[in-house]
């Protein structure tokens, strides 16, 4: 109740500042004149009484300020006055204003950039189920730098013999060519991933399906080309025309094709940042050749800690 009364009184003071000032002046004048009258009645001369009364009252400005400070609106008014004063000062000295604005812009920009990196790397949780259970496996031989790559055979061995982890998925970054009917071929950042990646991360597709059997190998295309049998496209992957512009109609066509063709999977629940590698344009599922599998170094191994471990 008191808060509401204060709020309403402050609003009234803000809207009727002139009337409030007049009333305060009148009250101070009445206070002073009553004091003078009292002193005159007590036997003082009019002049002496006025002098004594003014001395007792003190500085009228100080009293006025003390009264104004009672209300919350005073802080608002002084802030507004300070802002106006600052604006006038900045307008008078454009050089200083320019330097100040640039300094602030650079400072804010740098801080924002650093925070964005810190947020992406350290603060934001992976957009998957139970991200705290995920770990990245690194290997290190004596005298060698730490590595985050494994051969496919090692990956299979670890996956099949591990007892402390419920799943082990493999990820390898690459540049992939993505194209299709009515779409220009485009090189995008991508990943080769093991078929169980989505189960490991517990992701579900927005359209299409994921691999039925996460353990199965997919056959290669004609002439041993590294053609993808299954592709998962991240939602933000644009479909560009020959002029390089993103075209909504082409994106729609691509999406329709994904709907018709169950072998194409589009998007996962949220952008997938597997093993902290960042947003990837496309993923192919275990479609490297056997020769590749023997020699290729897989980028990362992503483990989910078993609850039984």
């Amino acid at each position: 109740m008191t808060r509401i009364a204060r709020l309403l009184a402050g609003l009234r003071a803000l809207t009727g500042r002139a009337r409030h000032d007049q009333q305060l002046d009148a009250e101070l004048r009445d206070f002073l004149e009553r004091s003078i009258d009292d002193k005159v009645r007590a036997g003082m001369s009019r002049e002496a009484a006025e002098r004594a009364a003014r001395m007792e009252l003190g500085s009228e400005t100080a009293v006025r300020d003390a009264v104004l400070e009672v209300g919350w609106e005073h802080a608002l008014e002084t802030t507004w006055e300070d802002a106006r004063h600052a604006a006038r000062s900045l307008r008078r000295s454009p050089g200083f204003t320019t330097v100040a604005v640039l300094t602030l812009a650079l400072g804010i920009g740098a801080t924002t950039a650093i925070f964005t990196i810190v947020h992406a790397l350290m603060l934001r949780a992976l957009p998957v189920s139970h991200p705290e259970e995920l770990v990245e496996v690194l290997s290190r031989y004596p005298g060698e730098p730490r590595l985050s790559t494994f051969s496919w055979r090692h990956y299979e061995y670890y996956r099949d013999h591990s007892q402390s982890f419920s799943d082990l998925a493999a990820v390898s970054r690459d540049r992939l060519q993505v194209g299709g009917d009515g779409l220009d071929a485009e090189i995008v950042d991508g990943e080769y991933v093991s078929g169980n990646l989505f189960d490991t991360l517990r992701l579900s597709p927005l359209l299409g399906r994921l691999v039925d059997d996460p353990g199965r190998r997919l056959e290669l295309g004609d002439r041993g080309q590294r053609r993808c049998q299954l592709v998962m496209l991240d939602e933000p992957l644009p479909c560009r025309s020959r002029r390089g512009r993103a075209e909504p109609s082409r994106q729609r066509r691509a999406r329709d094709r994904h709907r018709r063709d169950p072998a194409l999977v589009r998007g996962a629940a949220g952008r997938c940042h597997a093993c902290g590698l960042g947003a990837i344009g496309a993923r192919t599922l275990a479609s490297r050749s056997r020769a590749d599998e023997r020699t290729a170094r897989w980028g990362s191994a992503c483990w989910r800690v078993s609850h039984q471990a």
Binding site: M1, T2, A5, R6, A9, G10, Q23, L24, A26, E27, L28, D30, F31, E33, R34, S35, D37, D38, E56, L57, G58, S59, A62, V63, A66, V67, E69, V70, G71
Partner: protein, 116 residues
């Protein structure tokens, strides 16, 4: 200066209670409240305008007193304050708390080693 020294000798936080008590006797203007406080305290408390008028404004904002402009005996306009029902309830509560505190302080000051 002397007035300042005397008003500062008021126990902190008691000015509002004393104003409420003065207005409980009868509605009064700001100067009259100051004079009445000095009279009742037999000159011990003299409250200057710099303390009194902001305190009145604060009590008025909190809805504990209500101000009313009236013509005075010298054909001027003066603001007379009166206690509101909320102010009366507040005075009752603060008086009770004050009595409890002063009684406790008095007991502490009167304590001797033999009583402990």
């Amino acid at each position: 200066m002397a007035a300042d020294e005397k008003s500062s000798s008021l126990v902190q936080g008691t000015l509002h209670m004393l104003i409420l008590k003065t207005l409980a006797l009868e509605p009064m203007h700001g100067y009259g409240i100051g004079v009445r406080l000095e009279q009742i305290s037999r000159g011990v408390f003299r409250v200057n305008a710099g303390s009194l008028i902001p305190a009145l404004r604060r009590l008025e904002r909190d809805g504990l007193i209500a101000g009313d402009w009236r013509p005075t005996e010298n054909n001027r306009r003066g603001k007379y304050y009166a206690l509101t029902p909320r102010g009366r309830a507040m005075l009752k509560r603060e008086t009770r708390e004050w009595e409890q505190q002063t009684a406790a302080i008095a007991r502490i000051l009167a304590a001797s080693t033999g009583e402990l």
